[in-house]
Symmetry: C2
Subunit: 105 residues, 2 copies
């Protein structure tokens, strides 16, 4: 997928990935893989950003001797998803505009 296109989608994808159940970095990447690919550096940047924006909270836990940071969505995070869904209508309108501009003759 085009890198520019991702910019409007990745934040919400990450939030959606942790919405129903707390998750951690590596798992988020794997869960999202069928839909969108993102590198570790990208994900951790996003997680940091969403934490700063208070859209998620973090809790560290040990698992098999390794550190894991579990991310939990906040109300603001849920709101961000809702905003995206509202914005989606505009995006569809743009898509239809792009389609419509074609001559079908």
């Amino acid at each position: 997928m085009d890198i520019q296109m991702k910019r409007g989608l990745l934040d919400v994808c990450v939030l959606a990935a942790i919405k129903d159940e707390d998750s951690y970095g590596y798992k988020i990447i794997k869960d999202l893989k069928p839909y969108v690919e993102l590198s570790e550096s990208t994900l951790y940047t996003i997680l940091k950003r969403l934490e700063t924006a208070r859209m998620l909270t973090v809790r560290s836990a040990e698992h098999d001797g390794r550190l894991r940071k579990y991310y939990h969505i906040t109300q603001a995070g849920v709101g961000r998803i809702e905003d995206f869904k509202n914005e989606w209508k505009e995006v569809v309108t743009i898509y239809q505009f792009v389609r419509k501009e074609e001559r079908h003759e």
Copy 2:
């Protein structure tokens, strides 16, 4: 609309706006206004970029004593629109993923 979301859409919108008929800066902004708002600085940056990428060609013409630069789409530009339409399927899949992650109970 969210600025990040625009990143994946604006180039294609501009190309769609000139696809059926050559157009110029001010007109493009007005034509796109119902779908997406973009400032002059943004548009001219995009036009320059698309010209460099050979997705459109430019021709200057005088109109009422003022200079106008008319933009004409190239085959590469049309191809860019086609790529967008193919990519659209992936975008819809992502949208559905974001929706599906919600509890409906």
